[in-house]
Amino acid sequence: MSNGSRLLGELIDALRCLPGVGAKSAQRMAFHLLERERQGGLRLASALESAMRDVGNCTRCRNFSETPVCSLCASASRDKQVLCVVESPSDLAAIEQATGYRGHYFVLLGRLSPLDGLGPDELGLPLLAERLGEGEVDEMIIATNPTVEGEATAHYIGQLAKAAGIRATRLAHGVPLGGELEFVDRGTLAHAFGSRQSLG
């Protein structure tokens, strides 16, 4: 594809690194920025550059942070006795937005998956074990995804908690709200059945 400008071509090509952006949408975005959104485009460029350069991982919880300890970990108003373990920063954001959770987090940046080369070290589990050994945490909420790998990870982390004498809880999962049994997939239904609860 030729559009007469080398820089425009490079921009379109670069935009394609975004998820869900193919050649067509990349071109639409590039034209939009150049035709109508120069200011916004410049802001995007500088925000992108700073974030890519300065955002690293918190040394305590491994969430994204530009300071060695992130603002969640540094916050005095959060409950230090509860630690919620999630697979990814986007899971953390989802819990922050949907629940009133006020405890701390630990981000695995993945789940146990031997075939993807992800083992205990890659998930920062030595750091997590160290954290549990500090004695501040008395409940660990394991919020890994309800997939085969997420469940295996939850079990493994649960063992760490057990070794440290800390109560571990697991997010309940089952039939989605507003769902009907006949349309729920078998795995979910089997899981919901296996973890049924007493009424009242």
Partner: protein, 230 residues
């Protein structure tokens, strides 16, 4: 080539292109096969994605073209096998073992049957270590790497239950000395041959031996899952 209603177990799935998954499946007629599942990483395909989780027997409809197949449909067949606790970790090991030791599209109906039987045993709560050793033995057998568990590799004499050996992956049971890190009792090798669970010490020796044999067939590598299995 169109393939219809092929029984399969998903071994592993990883993101592929924009919204697709590349799913490694174990089948009886095509062995391990790489199947591209288009669009299943989109929000709306959650149900379809859930059917491509490991440890669930499914029936696949696919289009095979060259090295990879394209998924046309997948439906569950049979009850879900829930591997909880250590069995879940053992299941991940099983899948890594199968992916690493098999090539793609090498038909192996026996391996499929051994794999399914092993999942059933694990889901039923049978002792994990022994279940895994039985699978490793049968898998090696189905790949043409059968272990020689009843006679020694030097004289071809029947193994002595009380004697000490070490197992050389290339030749078999060799005379060994008690106390060697790889030492194994004749009785433990015979137990594996006879499909009779040995005692705890025997299981530990068989595990060491199997890691060495598997490492040899991997060309000297090791399996990641060994780090999470205690």
């Amino acid at each position: 080539m169109r393939i219809e209603q092929q029984p399969a177990f998903v071994l592993h799935a990883r993101p592929y292109r924009e919204t697709s998954l590349l799913v490694e499946c174990l089948t009886p007629d095509y062995g391990r096969i790489g199947v591209v599942a288009r669009g299943v990483r989109k929000e709306r395909a959650r149900l379809q994605r859930a059917q491509l989780e490991p440890f669930q027997r499914i029936q696949l409809d696919m289009l095979l073209k060259g090295e990879l197949a394209t998924l046309r449909g997948a439906e569950p067949s049979g009850a879900v096998m829930r591997l909880t606790g250590d069995a879940g970790l053992a299941g991940l090991y099983l899948n890594e073992l199968v992916v690493r030791l098999t090539g793609r599209q090498d038909p192996n109906a026996a391996l499929f049957a051994f794999y399914e039987r092993t999942l059933r045993r694990m889901a039923a709560g049978e002792p994990l270590a022994w279940t895994l050793r039985r699978f490793e033995r049968d898998m090696l057998d189905s790949l043409g790497y059968a272990l020689q568990l009843d006679v020694d590799a030097v004289q071809g004499e029947p193994l002595e239950p009380k004697a000490t050996y070490f197992y050389d992956p290339e030749s078999g049971a060799m005379p060994g000395r008690a106390g060697d890190p790889q030492a194994i009792r004749g009785a433990d090798l015979l137990a594996l041959a006879a499909d009779q669970a040995p005692d705890t010490a025997g299981l530990a020796s068989l595990r060491r031996m199997m890691r060495q044999v598997i490492g040899f067939h991997l060309g000297g590598g090791e399996l990641r899952a060994w780090r999470v299995l205690r």
